[in-house]
Amino acid sequence: MAKPLLATAAFTGCFGCHMSLLDIDDRILKLVELVEFDKSPINDIKTFSRPVDVGLLEGGISNDENVEQLRLFRENCKILISVGQCAITGGVPAMRNTVPLKECFEEAYLRGPSVVDGVLPNDPDIPILLDKVYPCHEVVKIDYFLPGCPPSADTLWAALTALLTGKDMGLPYELIKYD
């Protein structure tokens, strides 16, 4: 039987959840035995070449490119897992949600104390920001959630191996955290 395919995405986050995945140390060799990586920043594969079994999502949804990519993941992955607080709640980037977008832009690019000759970015190549940072599950259906900032390497390893071997996740108390 072919190995299950794993894809990962980094939306609006800090890449810390991906770093935590790498933090499983030598277990990464076992992970490579268990799965094959498809589209992911880890191997720099940019497009889905075939249907994927599991998609790990890091980061919240803050711009039109995030929305497009997340929908692409939903179309191509059987199971989607929101990994970390940004994917689950919007996280630290969502702290802008209580401030109108226009004010955020003006503070960052026009009025901020370190701004000199400020100008609002308006390049067609830059993704357009949404009014707010949204959790992934407010854009597409999400199957599982793994909280943490980031979820620890042990949490990711326990959850992934349980999922890939068909066992009950039953994560112990210490592995479910919001920070």
Partner: protein, 237 residues
């Protein structure tokens, strides 16, 4: 055992209670933890948060205020009630601006700890994202109302323990907020960092400045043991 002792049944277990005790006091003494958020051992019960809701003879009641009465049949640790409690916690999360990764109360926060204990893995209700006022005017204490759960602990502690009445509630419904007894800000009140009110907040709303992140991750209150473990262990040991 005196003649006055009352026997109540919590989740099928017979518990002895003294007359005048609440259901929660009797349960605590017997080592049965009933989740609570607005309640605090050094304050009279508030009955605000409804996290301690139990079913008394089939009817919902808050365990912190409801007196223990002979023969009561009480349900507490059931799927139905824990689901309700979890939903209350989830609503408190999405109504406020609780960004755990950026909060210095994280790890010692009772709202967060109740989320852990009750199995809240993800907040799936939509966030309200309401801007809430911050007050950093005081030299030793700040208020971040985005993290307030309206438990009223600071209100009760300031009035009943500190004798100052620095805090009160203003507004109603979703607009309800903790207000200070001053024209403008906390700095104009009699608030002191040594007040009971300064150290009794269950979340990171009312915080003594300059103490954040003093405890390393892994050694904070709820890193390894669920909230309520002290009550369960006290009776067991």
């Amino acid at each position: 055992m005196s003649e006055d002792t009352i026997t109540i049944l919590i989740d099928g277990k017979a518990i002895q209670a003294e007359p005048g005790q609440t259901i929660m006091q009797a349960a605590d003494a017997a080592g049965l933890y009933i989740p609570r958020l607005c309640g605090h051992k050094d304050l009279p019960p508030g009955g605000h948060c409804r996290v301690c809701t139990v079913k008394v003879n089939g009817r919902p009641a808050s365990a912190c205020t409801f007196p223990a009465v002979e023969g009561q049949v009480i349900e507490s640790d059931t799927d139905e009630i824990n689901t309700l409690r979890r939903t209350v916690i989830e609503m408190l999360f999405v109504e406020g601006n609780h960004t755990c990764p950026a909060c210095e109360a994280s790890g010692n926060c009772e709202l967060q700890a109740l989320g852990y204990r009750l199995g809240l893995v993800a907040t799936e209700l939509p966030y309200l994202n309401v801007p809430r006022e911050m007050d950093a005017s005081h030299k030793d204490v700040y208020i971040d109302r985005g993290r307030c759960v309206l438990c009223g602990r600071c209100v009760r502690a300031s009035k009943l323990v500190d004798g100052k009445t620095v805090f009160g509630f203003a507004g109603r419904g979703i607009g309800k907020r903790v207000a200070v007894d001053a024209e403008h800000a906390l700095s104009e009140t009699a608030m002191s960092a040594t007040d009971k009110a300064a150290s009794i907040c269950p979340t990171g709303c009312l915080v003594v400045k300059g103490k954040g992140w003093a405890t390393p991750v892994g050694k904070r209150d709820y890193d390894t043991m669920p909230i309520g473990s002290d009550i369960e262990q006290q009776a067991a040991g």
